[in-house]
Every structure is written in C-alpha cells, then in structure tokens.
Symmetry: C2
Subunit: 141 residues, 2 copies
C-alpha cells in the first residue's frame, strides 16, 4: 500500500491527464522542496530514465498553473519549485550558498498585504524574501 500522497488523484482533481512524467515530477517536487529545474530533471530520470528536459519544463509549468506546485525564484537564482501550496509562507535565502528555508511570517495572517500606497494596483499576493546567511555560512565568516 502506498503511504505517500496520492499523486494520481491530485492530477485528476486538477483536470490534468495522468502520465508517468507528471507523476514522477510531482513526486520529486514533494520529496525535494526548493529543487531547481535541473535537479528535478535528474531526480525524475532516476526513476524514469528517458524523460526529456522539455517534458519536465512543460510538466512543471502545467503543475504550477494548476496550483499543484509553486514556483519560486529569488533574485539571481534559477527557478525552484515546492509542493507546499495554498498557505501564506515565505522564504529565507542564504546570500552565500543560496540555501532556502521556509518561514511563516510573524505579522499575522496575509502579512504585509496592506501596502500603504498601492498606486491603483489590485494586489492579490505579497511575497516576502528574507535575505541573510544560513547557519553554515554565517559560521564560516
């Protein structure tokens, strides 16, 4: 019996066709939070050797559009993906090694969503990136 999430069901509920590459990508993103595209490709190929990089790019886009994964891309970094969606969490990024960790914002629900001056923009999301040093990198400085 499978113990992890039911990826097939997740795809069906999102009205996406169930294919091997999609199942593989979805599993990889769940098991390797914040992985970049290349890592996803490598990990997918460990279980399913002949997947083209293009397929992974397409799948990641489809999953992102469907809301099954979230794409994050801190300045200066390549695109990364995570499976934790639907909540309002943010990220700390290490300036030196690029390591990423999740954080929940301290300032209540939907943090900072109240911009003081919105210039007529209709705002639907506030994304926060905390910059600093990870434990290892701050140690060795």
């Amino acid at each position: 019996m499978p113990s992890g999430p039911d990826y097939e069901l997740m795809l069906r509920e999102a009205d996406l066709r169930v294919t091997r590459p999609r199942l593989a990508v979805l599993e990889v993103v769940h098991e390797h939070p914040h992985a970049d595209t290349e890592s996803v490709i490598d990990a997918v190929r460990r279980g399913l050797a002949d997947v083209s990089h293009q397929a992974v790019y397409d799948v990641l886009r489809a999953l992102t559009t469907a809301g099954l994964v979230r794409r994050i891309q801190p300045a200066g970094s390549v695109a990364r993906y995570e499976a934790r969606v639907g909540d309002n969490h943010h990220h700390v990024v290490c300036r030196v090694c690029g390591a990423i960790a999740d954080v929940d914002c301290a300032v209540g629900h939907r943090p900072c969503l109240t911009a003081s001056e919105h210039h007529g923009f209709v705002i639907d999301e506030a994304e926060v990136v905390y910059w600093g040093l990870c434990p290892e990198c701050s140690e060795s400085s």
Copy 2:
C-alpha cells in the same frame, strides 16, 4: 547651473572613478526608475553613442556594489535598477504587463523583518514583492 543630482560627486564619494559611461548610467537610472538593462543601454547610447553593453553591465554592477543603485528582479523578470536606495521600500508588480511601482510597507519600520522561524539564519533584509494588476490591466479584464 545643473539642477539635478551631482552624479560626479556621488561617484567620487563612493570611491569610484568618474567616467562618461558611469555618469551616463547613473543619470539614466535616476531618470528612469525600474528600467531593465537593455533600456539602460538604449538610453545611455542616446547621449553617448558608442558604449558597449559590457560597459553598462560592469557599471551597473559597480554602482550596485557601491550602493548607488539598487538591483531588483521580481520572479520571471530580467534585472531592473533604481536609484532610490537606503530606505526600506518595496514594489508592486503587475502580473500582466510587468509594470512596477514603489510602495512603503504599512507595517512600521523594517517590515516583516521578524520572521517567526528563522532556522538559524542570520537575516539582514526583508524584500517584499506585491503581485497584482496595474490600473490599466485591471481595467481591461
């Protein structure tokens, strides 16, 4: 008499050599907030025809390192530069057309810098990107 900022002085105070390309880039960034690199190159060449793109890349990096300009790069966008530095302001980005506007965060000074769980990271900056629709794009939807 010049009415704008004294770019030459700014460069000298930052211990940077004063060159025509640097003066030109600094002026462009001041006059076109949130311009991307290509726009900066175009604008610079309007006043100084034979500047290489490499020079502009180098100058932008030098100015950024010196703290005279700030580099911003919302997910999915190319690098953009602005001259408003030293304060704690953030940005609203239009999901459709990519337009950017400045905002001051409503939640007091150094907003959101108090992450609830920092995982041992030493945090020195919190960057907030508000996502939504600009007035024009929200109109036409």
